[in-house]
Amino acid sequence: MIATLLRIVLRRLLAAVPILVLVSMMLFGILRLLPVDPAAMSVPPNATREEIETVRRDMGLDRPIPEQYVRWALTLLRGDFGTSIHYRKPVGPLLAETLPATIELALAALVVAGFLGIGGGLGLFHVRGTWKAAVGDLGSTALMSIPSFLWAIILILIFAVAFRAMPVAGRLDMAFARPPGTGFLLLDAILAGRLDLLASAAKHLVLPAFALGLSFSPPIMRVLRSGLHDVYAEDYIRQARLRGLDEGRILIGHAARNAMLPTATLLGVQFGFLFGGTLLVEVLFSFPGMGGLMVEAVRNTDLPVIQAIGLTYCLVVLAVNAVTDIVCLLLDPRLRAN
């Protein structure tokens, strides 16, 4: 049994590899469309023509594009993410500083989306058939029309402009130094035993997480509600009612558990979109994650950074997709039949 599961996991991971390769090729190709000269951008303004040529040869920019790609891919495999043209520093540490922030934000947003989505889905189902459901339905469609960056602006307008209640910039209160550790502030604060750091980090996470979570909760609400519809048609629900259990217990105790599978699948699928949504939310909240770094790299046409971050986004999405697939396979034995 374990062997079959392991084989499935392995096959799933291996299937992701060619996709990753193709993704990297696509990224590389798109960026070579640019009429930009990375060599000219790496040198100080006073540099002469010859100096630029030397740099161009050093960077391998005079080789044909396929060869450039192979060089880049090989250095990548060695763990070298290249050097930022703008910062004149290796990209790896830049990524290491910013990736945990983005992941922490995405996870927090997932939690918010999960709570709101599941709570909303349960609530909508509970009032089904009444006028409240129709209103709720319209409401969820309306909510789905609000993208995360608009939520971000709305929240900033409410909590910073109208009521100066919540912080809208950074990850931590200005007075604090970041605790050393993983880069996941909440975790680091707990490990350091600092309640004040934890509170500050949590406060700064709230609005960005809600901006993202609010925009991703409607689909979850809907899937859960239709999942519950399907489950409630089953026999064992009627049995439970006959046994005298009240509606609340039936809903939470029996039905919800079974409707969780499609919901969990959706959460996994949504993570990809959610992760992309962090980009603009980070910019709007001055959150020091990959999104902010990417936007700056785009503005400076810092190709090595754009390539590295683009690839990282895809890697995370692929990883989460693979994990979701595996978890679903584990949860639902019927899917394993393949």
């Binding site: 996709i19 990753l20 193709l22 993704v23 696509m26 990224l27 798109i30 960026l31 070579r32 469309l33 640019l34 469609t141 309306a142 789905m144 029309s145 609000i146 993208p147 960056f149 608009l150 602006i153 709305i154 900033i156 307008l157 402009v161 990809g272 979109f273 992760f275 992309g276 949504g277 980009l279 603009l280 910019v283 709007l284 990417m294 936007v295 785009v298 503005r299 046409t301 754009i306 971050i309 683009g310 986004y313 895809c314 999405v317 692929l318 997709n321």
Partner: protein
Amino acid sequence: MRARAAWRSGRVRIGGILVAIVLVAGILAPWLAPHDPEAQDLLALLLPPAWAPGGQAAFPLGTDTLGRCVLSRLIWGARVALYVAILASLGAMILGGVLGHVAGYFGGWVDRLISRAVDVWMSFPPVVLSLVLMVGLGVGINNVVLAIILVDWTRFCRVLRADVLTVMNRDYVTAARLAGFGHVQTIWREVLPATLPLLATLVSLEMGMAVVVEAILSVVGMSVEANVPAWGVMIADSRQAMYQAPWNLILPMVAILVAVLGFNLLGDGLRLALDARQSGARAEAP
């Protein structure tokens, strides 16, 4: 019959009205807008709406950081939003639709190739991919359209392929092939009419998404040219004065919401109405 069923749906009605508002604004912009959207009045910067203290009647919704009339920019912005939305969704529909039909109809290695391409494409978060594409293509409204087409064709492809696969199992398709119709003719005569309703829904939803993508690219600074009034550009411009003139930020946001909500309700309503009709049709078929 199909249209009447759709019209009865509340969503389609509300969505339709909202979309109609945007359409009217966009088409009649030259006559509706009180001012040239790019005309600057450096002496009348950041005026509040006409009903607020300090507002002027000449500028019903106030002015922005360069003294341009906000109402005029909103109206002309509808034109830009429609241009991007319609062209991008039609383009994505054509590209994704053709590939989706081809993949579903022919199956085999063709299907595998196209599906693999879609998988690769969809590993990119859409925001990231559109940003990277804009870096490669350069700024400009037509490049925005192109970038959206290149990012969103995958959704059309995937959904349509699934739909085509279900249609392929129908008897009348096999019948057409047996009767000697060529591939293209079969697709055109038998498959397409069945997938058309889904296409219509997807296009409507896509239009809403195109409006959002343009806004996202504008906030980052990588969308349309400098002299084009777009809602996203209005948002980007007004962020720096958000404490002094929150109206400048709220109004284009409302415009985007109206447009996206309209397209979403319309698409949603169409889907529900056509789903009901399809299950009704199945019940009628022999």
